[in-house]
Symmetry: C2
Subunit: 112 residues, 2 copies
């Protein structure tokens, strides 16, 4: 009997479904802004990204999970499982294609 | 007996008090985004700006007033009385100095 491997895929909006208001709202929280800034330093694509636990936040694990989810559902970050770790990275290319200059302007402002 | 003229000044954050999270939150609402876009077409400075009633919105006058206030308190717009009319305009220069490229990126994204 074949073994079934459960592939846990998390829901993400398609690039064309990413909405400006939702992205701005996702980034309007200081904790989520801090997550985006931290992930901005971790690169994008295969092998890049960071586990939630690698982003230092002054909130409980469940609150952090909530904030990561808001960012994912808004289309700001991509989350996938690598082994048992949930890895997150910014959707830089998707956001840049959809809203040119926006993410960079926000990350620059957050860093200043 | 001298006449006292009541000068009605509305509270605005000083440029250095404008916070990124608050600006992003103010712009994360479709009605407020529409107001910002409309005011973007009305210029800035003396004689520029638009009365609230000049910005067509699918909400009641009191709801519109609320949204203008959120934008003002966030530092996105300036509101002043000209006669009996409350005139609003974007704080383009203040926002650009504080968060370079941000407002333009948001307005461009909203227009696309």
């Amino acid at each position: 009997m074949p073994t079934t491997t459960a592939v846990r895929e998390l829901p993400h909006p398609a690039p064309e479904e990413i909405r400006l208001e939702t992205v701005l709202h996702a980034l309007s929280d200081p904790i989520r802004l801090r997550i985006a800034t931290a992930l901005g330093a971790h690169g994008e694509g295969d092998g890049a990204g960071a586990a939630c636990s690698q982003v230092e936040l002054p909130v409980s694990a469940s609150t952090a999970t909530h904030h990561f989810r808001v960012l994912r559902e808004a289309g700001v970050i991509k989350q996938c499982y690598r082994g048992t770790a949930k890895i997150s990275c910014l959707r830089r290319a998707d956001l840049e294609a959809r809203f040119p200059g926006l993410l960079d302007a926000v990350l620059r402002a957050a860093a200043s």
